[in-house]
């Protein structure tokens, strides 16, 4: 949804009905057989995989994701969602962490092998508001979507990374290369300051004279919520990319629903895959 409203509806179900491309502009969803162009180790459990995708690559907006079918994993029925980490006219890349059977199967693939993907999925981040200072908050693989978005911006800003330890901090060098200020906090102090990234951010914010900032965040839910709270308290906008278990990725199955505030009913469901995954902090009805 991310900002645009047509008319209020049950579950936002029919937003895309009259014109299925209303939120996508001219970019329709595609299913594409891709070839692995590169598959390299990034750090710790993180890997980068580049896929040939001349159909999907040029259409991707930052914050969108793809649904990837793990080949050779013959007992899996669901695709795995991954944010787009890089996209160009010929390819898309993902930055992924090996956490379970699907990502382990993907990890065994070699360049030249084929992967079936659908995308681009979701609405991605909204356009950055001119005049506001860009702030980015990332945890773990959340850095992937953020840096793709940062690449599209003229304006430089500050990015805050948080994690348990050094290996959870990704893409810091890329942000530096783009000219951004990078602030890092790890719980064990193995890189950056020791402690929570919220503390680093609070100190930074306290030192500023204004709150003319706009925040885009992607990371674990606890982190997103903490920054969402700050956005409300300190009166700035925070666009949060939410992570939900997904089955279809296209809005059909109603697996990935998330509670959105609703003036009449208290809350109503929105589909993280189709209506999100990015929501403004005020839209989200956090669980008690």
């Amino acid at each position: 949804m991310t900002g645009t409203e047509t008319k209020s509806c049950f579950f936002q179900f029919f937003l895309c009905v009259k014109c299925p491309f209303v939120f996508r502009g001219i970019q329709p969803l595609k299913q594409e057989q891709t070839r692995i162009l590169e598959h390299r180790h990034e750090q710790a459990d993180y890997w980068v995989m580049q896929l040939s995708a001349p159909g999907i690559g040029p259409e991707v907006r930052p914050g969108q994701f793809i649904g990837l079918q793990a080949p050779r994993l013959d007992n899996a029925v669901l695709r795995r969602p991954f944010s787009v980490y890089r996209a160009d006219n010929e390819s898309v890349s993902i930055l992924y962490k090996v956490v379970g059977k699907g990502t382990a199967a993907i990890n065994r693939l070699l360049p030249g092998e084929t992967i079936d993907i659908i995308g681009p999925l979701g609405n991605g981040f909204p356009e950055a508001t001119p005049g506001l200072t860009p702030v980015r908050i990332g945890g773990g693989y959340g850095a992937a979507a953020l840096q793709l978005q940062a690449r599209t911006l003229q304006k430089k800003g500050t990015v805050f990374f948080g994690g348990r330890t050094a290996s959870d901090i990704l893409c810091a060098d890329e942000f530096k290369a783009l000219g951004w200020t990078v602030e890092i906090a790890t719980e064990d102090g193995s890189v950056g300051s020791r402690g929570l990234v919220t503390d680093t951010f609070d100190r930074w914010l306290d030192e500023r004279s204004d709150t003319d900032i706009e925040l885009f965040a992607c990371g674990p839910e606890g982190m997103l919520r903490a920054f969402g709270d700050r956005a409300v308290d300190r009166d700035f906008k925070a666009w949060l990319s939410m992570d939900r278990h997904m089955a279809c990725g296209v809005g059909a199955c109603l697996t990935c629903v998330i509670k959105k505030n609703d003036p009449e009913k208290g809350w109503q469901w929105a589909r993280c895959c189709k209506d999100g995954p990015v929501f403004e902090s005020r839209e989200i009805a956090w669980d008690e």
Binding site: F14, L29, V77, L78, I118, G249, G251, C253
Partner: protein
Amino acid sequence: MSDIKPDMSVNIGGLQMKNPVTVASGTFGYGPEYAELVDLNRLGAITVKGICAEPHTGNQTPRTFETRCGMLNAIGLPGPGAKGFIESYGEFLAQYDLPVIVNVWGKRVEEYGRVVEMLSDEPIVSAFEVNVSCPNVKEGGSLYGTDTKSFASVIETVRAKTAKPLIPKLAPNVSDITLFAKTAEDCGADAISIMNSYPAMAINIETRKPELANRSGGLSGPAIKPIAIKLVWEAARAVSIPVIGMGGISCAEDAIEFIIAGASAVAVGTANFTDPSTVIRVIDGIEAYLIRHDIPSIGDLCGTVL
């Protein structure tokens, strides 16, 4: 091998389909969701997500969980209600050359009657699939599907409300599916569909919590196909109304197996998530099989198991 195109059309109790392939309710949304990936005009019919008279919120999350060769779901039948459905999707669906099977449910017998009554005159609605077998709503659902008396009362009630094709969707968790198939036929159903997802459960051994917020859910996907084939085989021999077969279809061969077992039409469910092109591959694959085996019409294959 013959040069003439085989006749793929089927008539499911009055519902005319250009080919025997639809999608399973709840796995394909209401139409727009997959419209960019799948040419809806190719489908024999679309079966939309379960609708009841009023809007419904469904279950809490997590709502699905992947298992080996299958998945659990306990979506809990959220939906916009009968009015909301027509308002939101009526115009969209009318653009296509596509019969619409509306999957309906209710918490009480009267609610089944109400939703069918509300939708029966809508030109966009081609047929009703009556879900008496959802494992994921406490009310009604599962009881109506496993007790022949309650089942009969639901079917009689909806039959009185519509002249459109009526297709009860049977519950799989019964000892004798033929009792329900015959009851459906006796109560005036035009066809039956088999099977809904199977009541099942998964528990996370680290948290000791069920993987679904609803605790249990329904198992679907390739894992259950052999169960579905058996149920379709038994039911199809017991009644003379047509059977729509589903449960784990992920390729044309699976669909053909259902048809040989006795299904007049088939539905692709979970496989839409695995690969949205499945339903088109199934249609093309069935046609190729008929050509390869010189079978003039899909009806000639139905129920031909030896």
